[in-house]
Protein backbone atom coordinates (compact mmCIF):
# COMPACT_ATOMS: atom_id res chain seq x y z
CA UNK A 1 0.00 0.00 0.00
CA UNK A 2 1.18 3.50 -0.82
CA UNK A 3 2.68 5.55 2.00
CA UNK A 4 1.15 8.77 0.69
CA UNK A 5 -2.14 8.78 -1.20
CA UNK A 6 -3.52 11.91 -2.73
CA UNK A 7 -7.00 11.58 -4.10
CA UNK A 8 -8.87 14.00 -6.38
CA UNK A 9 -7.41 17.04 -4.65
CA UNK A 10 -8.86 20.46 -5.49
CA UNK A 11 -7.92 23.86 -4.16
CA UNK A 12 -8.95 27.43 -4.95
CA UNK A 13 -7.30 30.70 -4.02
CA UNK A 14 -10.36 32.90 -4.40
CA UNK A 15 -11.41 32.50 -8.03
CA UNK A 16 -8.09 30.92 -8.95
CA UNK A 17 -8.37 27.13 -9.26
CA UNK A 18 -4.80 26.20 -8.34
CA UNK A 19 -5.11 22.43 -7.88
CA UNK A 20 -7.48 20.82 -10.35
CA UNK A 21 -7.84 17.22 -9.29
CA UNK A 22 -4.52 15.78 -8.21
CA UNK A 23 -4.14 12.00 -7.87
CA UNK A 24 -0.78 10.78 -6.69
CA UNK A 25 0.41 7.67 -4.87
CA UNK A 26 3.85 7.59 -3.33
CA UNK A 27 5.45 4.36 -2.17
CA UNK A 28 7.67 4.07 0.84
CA UNK A 29 11.28 4.90 -0.02
CA UNK A 30 10.44 6.72 -3.25
CA UNK A 31 12.05 10.01 -4.16
CA UNK A 32 9.59 12.24 -6.00
CA UNK A 33 10.76 15.33 -7.87
CA UNK A 34 7.98 17.85 -8.40
CA UNK A 35 8.79 20.24 -11.23
CA UNK A 36 6.94 22.90 -13.17
CA UNK A 37 6.81 26.61 -13.80
CA UNK A 38 6.01 29.00 -10.97
CA UNK A 39 2.25 29.13 -10.53
CA UNK A 40 1.82 25.55 -11.73
CA UNK A 41 0.70 24.50 -8.23
CA UNK A 42 3.71 22.40 -7.26
CA UNK A 43 4.53 24.27 -4.04
CA UNK A 44 0.86 24.43 -3.09
CA UNK A 45 0.55 20.69 -3.57
CA UNK A 46 3.59 20.09 -1.39
CA UNK A 47 2.26 22.36 1.35
CA UNK A 48 -1.13 20.64 1.45
CA UNK A 49 0.60 17.36 2.32
CA UNK A 50 1.41 18.60 5.82
CA UNK A 51 -1.52 20.93 6.14
CA UNK A 52 0.21 24.28 5.67
CA UNK A 53 -2.37 24.84 2.93
CA UNK A 54 -5.95 23.72 3.28
CA UNK A 55 -7.79 22.21 0.33
CA UNK A 56 -11.38 22.23 -0.86
CA UNK A 57 -12.09 18.75 -2.15
CA UNK A 58 -10.46 15.35 -2.10
CA UNK A 59 -8.42 13.54 0.48
CA UNK A 60 -4.83 13.07 1.61
CA UNK A 61 -3.64 10.04 3.51
CA UNK A 62 -0.18 9.60 4.96
CA UNK A 63 0.66 6.30 6.60
CA UNK A 64 -2.94 5.75 7.61
CA UNK A 65 -3.58 9.35 8.80
CA UNK A 66 -6.39 10.67 6.62
CA UNK A 67 -7.08 14.35 6.33
CA UNK A 68 -10.15 15.86 4.81
CA UNK A 69 -10.83 19.39 3.56
CA UNK A 70 -10.71 22.09 6.26
CA UNK A 71 -9.30 19.76 8.85
CA UNK A 72 -7.91 21.82 11.73
CA UNK A 73 -6.22 19.25 13.94
CA UNK A 74 -3.16 18.40 11.91
CA UNK A 75 -0.69 17.51 14.60
CA UNK A 76 -0.90 13.75 14.13
CA UNK A 77 -0.31 14.18 10.40
CA UNK A 78 2.57 16.56 10.94
CA UNK A 79 4.38 14.13 13.17
CA UNK A 80 4.59 11.83 10.17
CA UNK A 81 5.50 14.52 7.63
CA UNK A 82 8.63 16.60 7.98
CA UNK A 83 9.32 19.73 5.98
CA UNK A 84 12.34 21.73 4.91
CA UNK A 85 11.82 25.26 3.60
CA UNK A 86 13.44 27.44 0.99
CA UNK A 87 14.32 30.07 3.63
CA UNK A 88 15.55 27.53 6.25
CA UNK A 89 13.32 29.11 8.94
CA UNK A 90 15.61 28.19 11.81
CA UNK A 91 14.55 29.74 15.11
CA UNK A 92 17.01 32.61 15.52
CA UNK A 93 16.87 32.81 19.31
CA UNK A 94 17.81 29.15 19.78
CA UNK A 95 21.15 27.40 19.26
CA UNK A 96 21.52 24.76 16.60
CA UNK A 97 21.10 22.05 19.22
CA UNK A 98 18.04 23.74 20.72
CA UNK A 99 16.53 24.10 17.27
CA UNK A 100 16.80 20.37 16.72
CA UNK A 101 15.67 19.43 20.23
CA UNK A 102 12.73 21.82 20.65
CA UNK A 103 10.01 19.77 19.01
CA UNK A 104 11.38 16.42 20.10
CA UNK A 105 11.12 17.61 23.69
CA UNK A 106 7.78 19.38 23.65
CA UNK A 107 5.94 17.40 20.97
CA UNK A 108 7.48 13.95 21.18
CA UNK A 109 8.05 14.46 24.93
CA UNK A 110 11.54 12.99 24.92
CA UNK A 111 13.64 13.51 28.04
CA UNK A 112 16.52 15.98 27.96
CA UNK A 113 19.25 13.34 27.64
CA UNK A 114 17.42 11.39 24.96
CA UNK A 115 16.58 14.52 22.98
CA UNK A 116 20.18 15.65 23.14
CA UNK A 117 21.49 12.33 21.97
CA UNK A 118 19.04 12.25 19.11
CA UNK A 119 19.92 15.82 18.13
CA UNK A 120 23.62 14.99 18.10
CA UNK A 121 22.94 11.95 15.96
CA UNK A 122 20.91 13.98 13.46
CA UNK A 123 23.51 16.74 13.33
CA UNK A 124 26.11 14.05 12.75
CA UNK A 125 24.12 12.87 9.79
CA UNK A 126 24.27 16.32 8.19
CA UNK A 127 27.91 16.77 9.25
CA UNK A 128 27.34 19.59 11.76
CA UNK A 129 27.77 17.90 15.11
CA UNK A 130 30.37 20.47 16.15
CA UNK A 131 27.92 23.34 15.59
CA UNK A 132 25.62 22.17 18.38
CA UNK A 133 26.09 25.34 20.45
CA UNK A 134 26.32 27.81 17.59
CA UNK A 135 23.49 30.19 16.74
CA UNK A 136 21.91 30.13 13.28
CA UNK A 137 23.29 33.54 12.31
CA UNK A 138 26.80 32.21 12.81
CA UNK A 139 26.32 29.62 10.06
CA UNK A 140 26.44 29.81 6.28
CA UNK A 141 23.23 29.36 4.33
CA UNK A 142 24.19 25.81 3.39
CA UNK A 143 24.92 24.93 7.01
CA UNK A 144 21.63 26.49 8.15
CA UNK A 145 19.75 24.40 5.63
CA UNK A 146 21.50 21.25 6.80
CA UNK A 147 20.49 22.08 10.38
CA UNK A 148 16.92 22.54 9.15
CA UNK A 149 17.09 19.05 7.64
CA UNK A 150 18.42 17.63 10.92
CA UNK A 151 15.63 19.39 12.79
CA UNK A 152 12.99 17.82 10.55
CA UNK A 153 14.64 14.37 10.74
CA UNK A 154 14.70 14.44 14.54
CA UNK A 155 10.92 14.11 14.47
CA UNK A 156 11.50 10.78 12.67
CA UNK A 157 8.96 11.51 9.97
CA UNK A 158 7.75 8.88 7.47
CA UNK A 159 8.12 11.32 4.63
CA UNK A 160 10.15 14.49 4.16
CA UNK A 161 8.91 17.43 2.07
CA UNK A 162 11.54 19.70 0.54
CA UNK A 163 10.33 23.03 -0.82
CA UNK A 164 13.00 24.42 -3.17
CA UNK A 165 15.57 23.90 -0.48
CA UNK A 166 18.53 25.08 -2.56
CA UNK A 167 16.91 28.08 -4.25
CA UNK A 168 17.98 30.60 -1.59
CA UNK A 169 21.57 29.37 -1.51
CA UNK A 170 24.65 30.79 -3.19
CA UNK A 171 25.66 28.43 -6.01
CA UNK A 172 28.76 27.13 -4.22
CA UNK A 173 26.64 26.01 -1.23
CA UNK A 174 24.06 24.03 -3.20
CA UNK A 175 26.05 20.82 -3.41
CA UNK A 176 26.61 20.31 0.32
CA UNK A 177 22.84 20.37 0.83
CA UNK A 178 22.11 18.11 -2.12
CA UNK A 179 24.73 15.66 -0.86
CA UNK A 180 22.82 15.34 2.41
CA UNK A 181 19.57 14.74 0.54
CA UNK A 182 21.27 12.13 -1.60
CA UNK A 183 22.39 10.26 1.52
CA UNK A 184 18.85 10.33 2.86
CA UNK A 185 17.55 8.94 -0.41
CA UNK A 186 20.13 6.18 -0.31
CA UNK A 187 19.05 5.29 3.23
CA UNK A 188 15.50 4.79 1.98
CA UNK A 189 13.87 8.01 3.18
CA UNK A 190 10.67 8.89 1.36
CA UNK A 191 11.21 12.32 -0.18
CA UNK A 192 8.95 14.71 -2.04
CA UNK A 193 10.94 17.57 -3.47
CA UNK A 194 9.95 20.68 -5.32
CA UNK A 195 13.15 21.51 -7.12
CA UNK A 196 14.78 23.41 -9.94
CA UNK A 197 17.87 21.21 -9.84
CA UNK A 198 17.07 19.15 -12.92
CA UNK A 199 20.29 17.20 -12.90
CA UNK A 200 19.67 16.19 -9.31
CA UNK A 201 16.09 15.22 -10.11
CA UNK A 202 17.30 13.03 -12.92
CA UNK A 203 20.04 11.38 -10.89
CA UNK A 204 18.33 10.85 -7.57
CA UNK A 205 14.62 10.90 -8.37
CA UNK A 206 12.61 7.69 -8.68
CA UNK A 207 9.71 9.51 -10.21
CA UNK A 208 9.37 12.84 -11.91
CA UNK A 209 6.06 14.71 -11.61
CA UNK A 210 5.56 17.62 -13.99
CA UNK A 211 2.82 20.03 -12.93
CA UNK A 212 1.12 22.26 -15.43
CA UNK A 213 -1.81 24.58 -14.72
CA UNK A 214 -2.84 22.84 -11.52
CA UNK A 215 -2.71 19.33 -12.90
CA UNK A 216 -0.17 16.53 -13.09
CA UNK A 217 0.65 16.86 -16.74
CA UNK A 218 3.19 14.08 -16.98
CA UNK A 219 4.71 11.68 -14.50
CA UNK A 220 7.14 8.82 -14.78
CA UNK A 221 10.74 7.72 -14.75
CA UNK A 222 12.99 10.80 -14.70
CA UNK A 223 15.61 9.52 -17.16
CA UNK A 224 12.95 8.60 -19.65
CA UNK A 225 10.91 11.79 -19.33
CA UNK A 226 13.95 14.00 -19.69
CA UNK A 227 15.06 12.08 -22.73
CA UNK A 228 11.63 11.78 -24.35
CA UNK A 229 9.07 14.24 -23.04
CA UNK A 230 5.64 13.15 -24.30
CA UNK A 231 4.02 16.58 -24.20
CA UNK A 232 5.18 19.83 -25.79
CA UNK A 233 4.71 21.61 -22.43
CA UNK A 234 7.28 19.41 -20.68
CA UNK A 235 9.60 19.63 -23.69
CA UNK A 236 9.42 23.41 -23.60
CA UNK A 237 9.89 23.45 -19.82
CA UNK A 238 13.00 21.29 -20.03
CA UNK A 239 14.25 23.44 -22.88
CA UNK A 240 13.78 26.62 -20.86
CA UNK A 241 15.66 25.25 -17.84
CA UNK A 242 18.76 24.01 -19.63
Amino acid sequence: MALVRIDALHKHFGSNHVLRGIDLDIEEGQVIALIGRSGSGKSTLLRTINGLESFDEGCIEVDGERIHPHETDLRALRQKVGMVFQQFNLFPHLTVGQNVMLATRIVRKLGDAEARELALAMLDKVGLREKFDAFPDQLSGGQQQRVAIARALAMQPRVLLCDEITSALDPELVNEVLAVVKTLAAEGMTLIMVTHEMRFAREVGDKLVFMYQGRIHEAGDPQELFANPRTPELASFIGSIN
Binding site: L52, R78, F85, N89, H93, V107, M155
Partner: protein
Protein backbone atom coordinates in the same frame (compact mmCIF):
# COMPACT_ATOMS: atom_id res chain seq x y z
CA UNK B 1 22.97 89.20 48.41
CA UNK B 2 24.16 85.85 47.20
CA UNK B 3 22.18 82.85 48.26
CA UNK B 4 24.10 80.30 50.31
CA UNK B 5 23.28 76.80 49.17
CA UNK B 6 22.85 74.33 51.95
CA UNK B 7 22.86 70.75 50.70
CA UNK B 8 23.93 69.39 54.06
CA UNK B 9 20.47 70.08 55.39
CA UNK B 10 19.12 67.69 52.76
CA UNK B 11 21.58 64.95 53.54
CA UNK B 12 20.60 65.03 57.18
CA UNK B 13 17.49 63.28 55.97
CA UNK B 14 19.32 60.60 54.03
CA UNK B 15 17.36 57.81 55.71
CA UNK B 16 14.17 59.34 54.41
CA UNK B 17 15.75 59.58 50.96
CA UNK B 18 16.89 55.96 51.00
CA UNK B 19 13.48 54.81 52.15
CA UNK B 20 11.74 56.80 49.42
CA UNK B 21 14.17 55.53 46.79
CA UNK B 22 13.59 51.92 47.77
CA UNK B 23 9.84 52.40 47.67
CA UNK B 24 10.01 54.00 44.25
CA UNK B 25 12.09 51.05 43.05
CA UNK B 26 9.72 48.53 44.62
CA UNK B 27 6.72 50.21 43.04
CA UNK B 28 8.48 50.16 39.68
CA UNK B 29 9.55 46.54 40.03
CA UNK B 30 6.14 45.21 41.02
CA UNK B 31 4.46 47.38 38.42
CA UNK B 32 6.84 46.19 35.72
CA UNK B 33 6.38 42.49 36.38
CA UNK B 34 2.59 42.67 36.57
CA UNK B 35 2.38 45.27 33.79
CA UNK B 36 4.40 43.02 31.48
CA UNK B 37 2.07 40.14 32.26
CA UNK B 38 -0.91 42.31 31.32
CA UNK B 39 0.95 43.46 28.21
CA UNK B 40 1.64 39.90 27.06
CA UNK B 41 -2.00 38.90 27.60
CA UNK B 42 -3.16 42.00 25.79
CA UNK B 43 -0.71 41.53 22.94
CA UNK B 44 -1.79 37.91 22.43
CA UNK B 45 -5.46 38.86 22.48
CA UNK B 46 -4.87 41.63 19.98
CA UNK B 47 -2.50 39.74 17.69
CA UNK B 48 -4.62 36.60 17.61
CA UNK B 49 -7.91 38.50 17.52
CA UNK B 50 -9.31 36.53 20.45
CA UNK B 51 -12.87 37.85 20.68
CA UNK B 52 -14.05 39.54 22.80
CA UNK B 53 -10.71 40.22 24.52
CA UNK B 54 -9.13 41.85 21.48
CA UNK B 55 -11.81 44.56 21.48
CA UNK B 56 -11.65 45.03 25.23
CA UNK B 57 -7.89 45.43 25.13
CA UNK B 58 -8.15 47.85 22.19
CA UNK B 59 -10.50 50.07 24.19
CA UNK B 60 -8.34 49.76 27.31
CA UNK B 61 -5.17 50.69 25.41
CA UNK B 62 -6.76 53.78 23.85
CA UNK B 63 -8.31 54.87 27.14
CA UNK B 64 -5.03 54.64 29.01
CA UNK B 65 -2.76 56.08 26.34
CA UNK B 66 -4.95 59.13 25.88
CA UNK B 67 -5.33 60.16 29.52
CA UNK B 68 -2.71 61.35 32.03
CA UNK B 69 -1.28 58.94 34.58
CA UNK B 70 -2.14 61.41 37.34
CA UNK B 71 -5.82 61.31 36.39
CA UNK B 72 -5.75 57.51 36.24
CA UNK B 73 -4.24 57.51 39.72
CA UNK B 74 -6.87 59.90 41.10
CA UNK B 75 -9.64 57.95 39.43
CA UNK B 76 -8.44 54.76 41.11
CA UNK B 77 -7.59 56.23 44.51
CA UNK B 78 -10.51 58.62 44.96
CA UNK B 79 -13.03 57.13 42.55
CA UNK B 80 -12.98 53.42 43.44
CA UNK B 81 -13.79 53.93 47.16
CA UNK B 82 -16.91 55.83 46.18
CA UNK B 83 -17.99 52.63 44.42
CA UNK B 84 -17.39 50.73 47.64
CA UNK B 85 -13.94 49.36 46.73
CA UNK B 86 -11.60 50.04 49.64
CA UNK B 87 -8.08 50.69 48.50
CA UNK B 88 -5.03 52.15 50.23
CA UNK B 89 -2.46 54.47 48.67
CA UNK B 90 0.02 51.70 47.78
CA UNK B 91 -2.61 49.45 46.27
CA UNK B 92 -3.81 52.40 44.21
CA UNK B 93 -0.29 53.31 43.12
CA UNK B 94 0.57 49.74 42.10
CA UNK B 95 -2.74 49.29 40.32
CA UNK B 96 -2.27 52.56 38.44
CA UNK B 97 1.28 51.61 37.36
CA UNK B 98 0.18 48.15 36.24
CA UNK B 99 -2.80 49.49 34.31
CA UNK B 100 -0.68 52.19 32.69
CA UNK B 101 2.31 50.05 31.79
CA UNK B 102 0.06 47.19 30.70
CA UNK B 103 -1.52 49.39 28.05
CA UNK B 104 1.79 50.56 26.61
CA UNK B 105 3.40 47.14 26.65
CA UNK B 106 0.33 45.63 25.00
CA UNK B 107 1.00 47.79 21.96
CA UNK B 108 4.77 47.36 22.07
CA UNK B 109 4.66 43.56 22.34
CA UNK B 110 1.89 43.28 19.80
CA UNK B 111 4.10 45.02 17.27
CA UNK B 112 6.85 42.50 18.03
CA UNK B 113 4.51 39.54 17.66
CA UNK B 114 3.08 40.80 14.40
CA UNK B 115 6.57 41.20 13.00
CA UNK B 116 7.17 37.44 13.32
CA UNK B 117 8.07 36.08 9.88
CA UNK B 118 5.44 33.69 8.55
CA UNK B 119 8.11 31.08 7.83
CA UNK B 120 8.91 30.78 11.54
CA UNK B 121 5.36 29.76 12.30
CA UNK B 122 5.17 27.40 9.34
CA UNK B 123 8.40 25.72 10.41
CA UNK B 124 7.00 25.22 13.91
CA UNK B 125 3.72 23.90 12.48
CA UNK B 126 5.58 21.45 10.30
CA UNK B 127 7.25 20.15 13.47
CA UNK B 128 3.75 19.32 14.77
CA UNK B 129 3.87 21.99 17.46
CA UNK B 130 0.54 23.23 18.80
CA UNK B 131 -0.65 26.84 18.82
CA UNK B 132 0.29 27.48 22.44
CA UNK B 133 3.65 25.78 22.03
CA UNK B 134 4.42 27.83 18.95
CA UNK B 135 3.58 31.01 20.77
CA UNK B 136 5.56 30.13 23.87
CA UNK B 137 8.69 28.81 22.15
CA UNK B 138 8.86 30.34 18.69
CA UNK B 139 6.91 33.60 18.62
CA UNK B 140 7.23 35.22 22.04
CA UNK B 141 10.98 35.02 22.81
CA UNK B 142 12.20 36.72 19.61
CA UNK B 143 9.30 39.19 19.76
CA UNK B 144 10.17 40.20 23.33
CA UNK B 145 13.83 40.40 22.42
CA UNK B 146 13.10 42.67 19.50
CA UNK B 147 10.95 45.10 21.51
CA UNK B 148 12.89 44.85 24.76
CA UNK B 149 14.63 48.25 24.30
CA UNK B 150 11.23 49.89 23.82
CA UNK B 151 9.92 48.15 26.92
CA UNK B 152 12.94 49.36 28.93
CA UNK B 153 12.31 52.95 27.82
CA UNK B 154 8.67 52.67 28.80
CA UNK B 155 9.53 51.29 32.23
CA UNK B 156 11.86 54.25 32.82
CA UNK B 157 9.14 56.67 31.73
CA UNK B 158 6.69 55.01 34.09
CA UNK B 159 9.17 55.05 36.97
CA UNK B 160 9.74 58.78 36.53
CA UNK B 161 5.97 59.20 36.29
CA UNK B 162 5.43 57.54 39.67
CA UNK B 163 6.68 60.76 41.23
CA UNK B 164 3.07 61.98 41.11
CA UNK B 165 2.08 59.15 43.47
CA UNK B 166 3.20 61.54 46.21
CA UNK B 167 -0.12 63.24 45.58
CA UNK B 168 -2.05 60.35 47.11
CA UNK B 169 0.41 60.20 50.03
CA UNK B 170 2.26 57.11 48.84
CA UNK B 171 5.58 57.67 50.59
CA UNK B 172 7.89 57.26 47.62
CA UNK B 173 10.84 59.42 46.64
CA UNK B 174 8.95 62.60 45.75
CA UNK B 175 6.90 62.29 48.91
CA UNK B 176 10.20 62.08 50.77
CA UNK B 177 11.34 65.29 49.03
CA UNK B 178 8.15 67.09 50.00
CA UNK B 179 8.55 65.90 53.57
CA UNK B 180 12.18 67.00 53.80
CA UNK B 181 11.64 70.45 52.34
CA UNK B 182 8.76 71.03 54.75
CA UNK B 183 11.21 70.41 57.60
CA UNK B 184 14.41 72.06 56.42
CA UNK B 185 12.80 74.85 54.38
CA UNK B 186 15.38 74.25 51.65
CA UNK B 187 13.04 73.45 48.80
CA UNK B 188 15.47 74.08 45.95
CA UNK B 189 18.32 72.02 47.36
CA UNK B 190 15.98 69.21 48.33
CA UNK B 191 14.36 68.94 44.92
CA UNK B 192 17.72 69.28 43.24
CA UNK B 193 19.14 66.33 45.18
CA UNK B 194 16.04 64.23 44.60
CA UNK B 195 16.06 65.06 40.88
CA UNK B 196 19.65 63.86 40.76
CA UNK B 197 18.61 60.63 42.48
CA UNK B 198 15.87 60.09 39.90
CA UNK B 199 18.38 60.72 37.13
CA UNK B 200 20.76 58.09 38.49
CA UNK B 201 17.86 55.69 39.02
CA UNK B 202 16.78 56.15 35.42
CA UNK B 203 20.25 55.28 34.16
CA UNK B 204 20.64 52.34 36.55
CA UNK B 205 17.20 50.87 35.93
CA UNK B 206 17.68 51.05 32.18
CA UNK B 207 21.07 49.32 32.41
CA UNK B 208 19.79 46.60 34.70
CA UNK B 209 16.77 45.94 32.51
CA UNK B 210 18.80 45.77 29.33
CA UNK B 211 21.27 43.36 30.92
CA UNK B 212 18.47 41.28 32.42
CA UNK B 213 16.69 41.13 29.09
CA UNK B 214 19.76 39.84 27.35
CA UNK B 215 20.26 37.23 30.05
CA UNK B 216 16.68 36.06 30.29
CA UNK B 217 15.39 36.24 26.76
CA UNK B 218 18.46 36.28 24.62
CA UNK B 219 21.37 34.01 24.21
CA UNK B 220 22.13 31.95 27.22
CA UNK B 221 25.74 30.95 26.97
CA UNK B 222 26.34 27.75 28.81
Amino acid sequence: MAYAFDFASVLEYREVLVDGTLKTLALTAIGTVLGLAVGILGAVSRAWKLAPFDRLFAVYVEAIRNTPFLVQLFFIFFGLPSLGVQINEWQAAILAVVVNLGAYTTEIIRAGIEATPKGQIEAAQSLAMGRAQIFRHVVLPPALLKVWPAICSQVVIVMLGTSVCSQIAAEELTFAANFIQSRNFRAFETYFVVTAIYFLLAIAVRQVLIQAGQRLIARRTK
